[in-house]
Amino acid sequence: MSGAGPSTSGSVHRGDPVLVDRYTVGARMNHWVTATSLVLLALSGLSLFHPSLFFLSSLFGGGSWTRVIHPWIGLVLFVGFLGLFLRFWKLNLWNRDDRKWLLSPRAILTGHEETLPEIGTYNAGQKLVFWQMSLLIIVLIVSGIAMWDEYFGSYFSITQKRVAVLVHAVAAIGAICVWIVHIYAAIWVRGTISAMTRGQVTGGWAWRHHRKWLRNLVTKH
């Protein structure tokens, strides 16, 4: 222990523990707008998906308001996610280590990361969540517009709308499952959530889960 107070060198802040900047304020705000809209979309969408969940529509002022508001929240999500996509797509490009990482599911699931290759900003699981969400959100916005009768009703045939409602439901289930994985991973891997709340993680977290990323940050300065 050096005994000196926290000092800063780039995005790695010395101290006990070391703190590492992971997300800027802009990225965090972008994330939480997207996250909030995704939760609201899931609640309003599920209320119209299964009768047993129709009670959720009262959160939005009843069935009619749920029907009115859901597509608008969808637009917010789309724009929000587009922002996230533009920020992070490069960091989520696939590389050789990702394949290797994915081939050891046992080590991943039991938390034995020492046997896995060192990981950059994102591991293969995070990248899969990113790309699956990207794909599903494109499917959801396209099918969603096809079933947004209020404004686009006259542009689509009834058959196209039938395809749209089915695709929208299936894609939404997929997106909710991807979201469950995303949330669960954030809870299971302790120390993750502060990345999106205060923007920082501890050095140990970075060392354990994203060592290549940490090494790059340290050598940069």
Binding site: S2, S9, V12, R14, D16, P17, V18, S47, L48, F49, H50, P51, F54, S57, G62, G63, S64, T66, R67, V68, L109, T110, G111, M147, D149, E150, G153, I158, T159, K161, R162, V163, V165, L166, A169, V170, I173, I176, C177, I180, V181, Y184, I187, W188, V189, R190, G191, T202, G203, G204, W205, A206, W207, R208, L214, R215, V218, T219
Partner: protein, 312 residues
């Protein structure tokens, strides 16, 4: 001739249709309601003269106001069903290839009141669509959320959504009149008895006699339109060319609820909840089995050494 509908009684009559007589209720599970005699409206296209008294009677009884339209060279007016026009005479000029005669086919379009209603199957709002045990499928405005799922569910393209109100509208088979022993307004107004109304079995018998008569006049393919793909309907047609219903302004040949809707409101509805529940459950079990993935003290120390440049 089927006996004309009687004039209403002037003394008050208790309503015979209520929530006690529901067979199905959208997005709800309900006990089987008390049975009422199955009714049907029979529309005999061979007797229709295209006078539109039925359209007028429908507007009048239901207090609907259709907008003044425009002419595009067809007597069909308005050009499609609307939130105000729950029934519409569709006119088709058809040249019979066998006789080379021009035939003027007039079909009164509107809700068919399917025994297996696709609109009700698709509806997500509890109680927005109900089916009475007499066969009438009715929309309940207060519960309707205007999502338009009924439009996707309907094999006949009948429901219309009001942009102003955000509610779905269609023919009610005059459930309010039927409830007090009357027939639908359109049937009451029809001057040629092309529209008759009564118990479904009687209507089928009446149709049989009409078909026999049509066959004796050379319409060898005359028949009853009561499509089994939707479990039969409570609005039926006598067609002179029952072998090709599509010539009557696109009356579907073998209507069924679209398989897309069946999958959406069947397998996907249940499998979807199961898959999402399973994903969450797997997370809980995984956490219980493996415990949290924590950073150790040594890892914090290693990071510190790295940050302070002691190791690379």
């Amino acid at each position: 001739m089927y006996p004309p509908l009687p004039n209403p009684s002037v003394s008050p009559v208790a309503a015979k249709l209520s929530d006690k007589n529901l067979m199905r209720r959208s997005a709800s599970t309900i006990p089987q309601g008390e049975p009422v005699q199955q009714v049907a409206k029979l529309i005999d296209t061979s007797k229709c003269i295209g006078c539109k008294a039925c359209q007028t009677a429908c507007l009048e009884w239901n207090n609907l106001k259709e907008e003044v339209g425009f002419n595009t060279g067809s007597l069909t007016n308005p050009h499609d069903l609307t939130t105000a026009s729950w029934t519409l005479m569709r006119f088709t000029e058809w040249v019979n290839p066998e006789t080379d005669n021009l035939e003027w086919l007039i079909r009164k379009d509107g809700c068919m009141h399917c025994a297996d209603p696709g609109c009700l199957k698709a509806c997500p709002a509890p109680g927005a669509i109900v089916q009475y045990t007499n066969g009438i499928v009715d929309f309940v405005k207060e519960n309707c959320i205007g999502c338009g799922y009924c439009v996707k569910g309907c094999p006949f393209n009948i429901p219309r959504i009001s942009k102003a109100e955000g509610k779905a509208y269609k023919c009610t088979l005059c459930s309010d009149r039927v409830a007090v022993g009357q027939g639908p307004a359109c049937a009451k107004a029809c001057p040629t008895q092309a529209i008759v109304f009564g118990p479904k079995e009687d209507m089928k018998k009446h149709a049989e006699a009409r078909i026999k008569d049509l066959k004796s006049r050379g319409y060898k393919n005359a028949g009853l339109y009561d499509p089994p793909g939707v479990g039969g309907t409570h609005v039926m047609y006598v067609l002179h060319h029952a072998d090709k219903p599509e010539i009557y302004a696109g009356l579907p040949n073998n209507p069924t609820i679209s398989p897309l809707v069946e999958v959406w409101k069947g397998a996907v509805k249940y499998a979807g909840l199961a898959v999402m529940g399973a994903a969450a459950a797997i997370g809980v079990v995984h956490h219980l089995v493996n415990g949290p993935n924590r950073v150790s003290r040594e890892e914090e120390e290693a990071a510190k050494r790295l940050a302070e440049g002691e190791t690379k």
